[in-house]
Chain length 336, copies 2
DNA sequence: TTGTAGGCGTTATCAC
DNA sequence: GTGATAACGCCTACAA
């Protein structure tokens, strides 16, 4: 392995001089600078960032922890985070918890042992509390992303789940729907709770009764609860519309409906939170409350770096991003 | 920061003993082992992996370099790679080059400075040659993923682009299509060349003439070449089918066709390489040659780790993954 | 402007 | 079974 000493020897200077050339610190004559740079070039020297981190107590590396890498919301968000990090001179370490507390725990350990300078953290749910506390104990700056966790005070960037859900329900009730089902994520996840609140509020506004038989609670990914769907469809007052609390749930719901010969939107309307960028691009089908995923990542990353670099206000900041109703074809007036 | 010395002091042993407990190396009495572990637990000590890497000359970290994080082919692949890496005790550093040689170059520098133990590398194209050579010079093991690069000999895992394309063209010609356009990626990318070969072979088999006016070459992502599409549509022998060389191109093509009032498949059939998992889940529309994305990642990662751990045969291995024709609705018999 | 000494947190080696 | 020492590659502080 080529070290700073190899460069030093070949350039007839000390290692320190080489270090100074690399980091542009201290004064050195143009002549030696030139010579050193030539040798660095020639030998293709690249500093060992582990050694550097060890002495600097800084890795110039950040972590992004997301909960589902196959969800386009998070991959778009990841690009925003990556772009922002790179722009400000940081490298980004991606981690993917798969909505699993166990994997999340492992990643937190990795994060801690890697000594990254900060974390943009999308918690799996309320039980992520301990993981976040662990970061706080070590004084690792972090920004909570997408979901809040009761018991933790920190910078947060999240969507307006309540309002977005309300918009969707309003849209459905305006179309004339009276029986609207909710297929939601786990109640352990803040966005699921808020979307349910928005749903309830929407019913209230339209003076519709709440019917717990129209609610199905599950996880945010890999939805395939056949029994649950059958239960909804068999409910005494069969729903004419379903609000899926995120895009992955909507996909599952529509797939299961089609499997049963139920047409969308002719027989049942479906709306959801989060867009499906790719699918929507060539087939504008799903009516959604879209969140600005890229900005979630980009702005969250800015907040994190500002915090790390001491450019943020002392008290924790909360940024709430609005969502946008995109009316397309998956919801229509109820058939009856 | 809690170090191994803090543990040592509190447990009344030397740092070495603590190290031995952590790494389960050397002999130590159950009593002290117990005591040390207790203190580790108590203080929540997590070893500094930078310091460890420095002395071990090994980071237990691997890089996955993909070219488009918004492409579901690559995110699914990423999950496969991640699962395999974690299973074998490695952490994974994701990087995303956006099909951009400049970004790729930066990531290679990062990889080199981080001293990862190996890289699963999807090259942006033939001009990635220098980047790969750089890795070879440093003796960083790597497996080339998805695309080959002339001039580099190494382990490779890739799809059968030629055969997959051939299948798609055969399918189209069997339906009766005589004028089939190709919207391809850059000729600098091996998969684009091979898919074009498959396309040509398919034409030959069906005894169709080759018509260069039916070929549009562009990049694999962000397709929006309006003029190019117009040129294809205005061609003297208007195509009745389009073969898009990957999923992202297909999306762009269909979007632009719809924008022009051209219906798919009624007016023009469209087929492509790679599936769109999410979109296909709830709307089985695109007829594709699907590649086993998860296995690309999982198997590629196994190859890489085998290579690193000296468990691979000496000479470089090449694994070619078959693709699978999935017939759905985006292609039908030609209208005329 | 340049170089020396010491230390960042960990582990391999080799004594005790 | 346990511990002292040196080393991994780099940078800060200080001296020349």
């Amino acid at each position: 392995m080529i070290t700073i000493y190899d460069i030093a020897k070949k350039a007839n200077v000390s290692a320190m001089t080489v270090s100074k050339v690399i980091n542009q610190t201290g004064r050195i004559s143009p002549a030696t600078r030139e010579r050193v740079q030539q040798v660095i070039e020639e030998l293709g020297y690249i500093p060992n960032s582990n050694a550097r981190s060890l002495v600097l107590q800084r890795t110039q590396m950040l972590s992004l922890l997301i909960t589902d890498i196959t969800n386009p919301f998070y991959t778009t968000l990841a690009r925003g985070a990556e772009d922002a990090a790179n722009q400000r001179g940081y490298r980004l370490l991606f981690s993917n918890s798969d909505e699993d507390y166990g994997k999340e725990k492992n990643y937190v350990e990795t994060i801690l042992s890697t000594r990254v300078d900060g974390v943009l953290f999308a918690p799996a749910g309320d039980r992520s509390l301990n993981h976040l506390k662990q970061l706080q104990e070590r004084n690792i700056p972090f920004v909570i992303l997408d979901r809040t966790v009761p018991g933790i005070t920190s910078d947060v960037i999240a969507g307006d789940s309540r309002e977005g859900a309300l918009q969707l329900i309003r849209y459905l009730t305006n179309l004339g729907h009276r029986h609207i089902a909710l297929v939601n994520g786990s109640s352990e996840v803040s966005t699921a709770r808020l979307r349910e609140e928005g749903y309830m509020e929407g019913l209230r506004e339209a003076e519709l009764p709440f019917d717990s038989g129209l609610i199905l609670r599950t996880g945010y990914r890999d939805f395939s609860d056949e029994k649950g769907i059958d239960r909804l469809l068999a409910h005494q007052l069969k729903p004419t519309a379903i609000f899926a609390a995120n895009n992955m749930l909507a996909i599952g719901v529509i797939r299961l409906l089609r499997k049963r010969g139920v047409r969308v939107p002719e027989d049942i309307s479906v709306v959801c939170f989060d867009d499906l960028d790719l699918a929507s691009a060539f087939d504008p089908f799903l009516t959604v409350a879209a969140q600005p995923a890229y900005d979630f990542g980009a702005i969250g990353m800015q907040m994190l770096i500002d915090r790390i670099e001491g450019k943020a206000p002392e008290q924790p900041q909360t940024v709430i991003m609005p969502s946008e109703l995109r009316i397309r074809a998956s919801a229509s007036v109820p058939s009856e």
